[in-house]
Amino acid sequence: MRMLSLMRRQRALLNCAPISARQQVDRTMRSAVSRADGSVEFANQQNFDRAVATLVQLVPIPAESAEWFSEKDLVPATKWTWKKMVRNPAVLAISIAVVVIAGVFVFNFLSHLNDFPGSATARKLLSVAASTRPVMLDPVKAEAGTLSDLFFMKHGLEHYDVPPEFADFDTIGCRVFDDDESRRIAQIWVAEKRMQFFLFPAERDTKTGAPLRFPGWRYVHQEGWTGAVTEHSGVCFMAAVRGRGKDLKPHLSKAADK
């Protein structure tokens, strides 16, 4: 029964099938036409309709009425100017959205411009530095350079060496802890300018496991702290100081001179 009604509807649609392709048709009409495509009966109907429609176009229109169908625009279309287009709320909204998106992209691009292997860990450690209090560290009064032996002998950490530029700084305390990815981090607090040093494993290649190296010193900034990071023997060293890092520059330029 349903099938019969469907066929009837299809037949009804075919009788009203568009004459020319310029008519917009809905899905049901398209489907009915595509089913009937190729049938002689439908082809005859289409040819018949086209011939009648062509003849209808030739029915003479009285001259007085024809004037109304002049090719000229009776009402001139309003001219679009740049000024008008810019004031259009849609254009304005899209422009603002594009500027904001571009701003976010530029910000992300600039903030990752100076990225290096281990920069994410270094930023996290700057947050640790900001929240560390002296009581959290074991008191150690020595030169920073001598703590490598302590880290090796007490904690089994190889190559956790403080670079020569910072080796003669007097320490207040130190500790070794695991970060959220179970990496062993050594933290040293020095007396000078309340500076903190961090030693942590360098980022490794996921396929080969080899440490990702980078030359010289790189800077990172986080929460008002600045860190200068260098890599040596698969271990990164970071000297962290509160502020823009002008206290670090003299030590690093000394190293460059050497």
């Binding site: 109907q45 040819n47 429609a53 209808v56 029915v59 003479p60 009425s65």
Partner: protein, 143 residues
């Protein structure tokens, strides 16, 4: 719709005038095709007062493969008169359909018809026109 250019012109101008007045008053209906619907009713009103064709069963024929060539031989005015002689709403259906300006949904809306009605009127119109064409321009094989 009218088969008479003078009447068609009168209806056309009356419709435009009415549209202009409504626009000036800011009373232009929001529904689409109101101008066409208005024109159609004016055409129907205009034909009410004149002599009506006798109602009789017209012959019908299946569409012939050579129908297109028969139609080409017709004079456009003859076709207009033939369509205008059809009883309404078949006349509206044929006129709107062969204008080739509206899709079938728009015709249903304009002529206030249902799909099966429009389909029936068009199918019947084609068969009647074919019978008329056969009578007017007999084909070689016709007896």
């Amino acid at each position: 719709m009218l088969g008479d250019s003078r009447k068609a012109q009168e209806v056309f101008h009356a419709t435009l005038r009415e549209g202009g007045v409504r626009a000036a008053r800011g009373e232009v209906p929001t529904e689409p095709f109101w101008l066409f619907r208005d024109a159609r009713w004016r055409c129907l009103e205009a034909t009410k007062t004149e002599l009506q064709p006798e109602s009789f069963e017209m012959d019908e024929q299946d569409i012939a493969p050579a129908a297109a060539s028969q139609i080409e031989r017709l004079d456009p005015t003859q076709l207009a008169v033939w369509i205008s002689a059809a009883p309404d709403p078949q006349r509206s259906a044929l006129a709107l359909f062969y204008l080739d300006e509206f899709d079938y949904r728009e015709i249903l809306d304009l002529a206030e018809l249902k799909l099966n009605e429009l389909s029936r009127f068009l199918a019947k119109g084609r068969r009647q026109l074919q019978a008329w064409l056969d009578a007017k321009f007999p084909q070689a094989g016709d007896v």
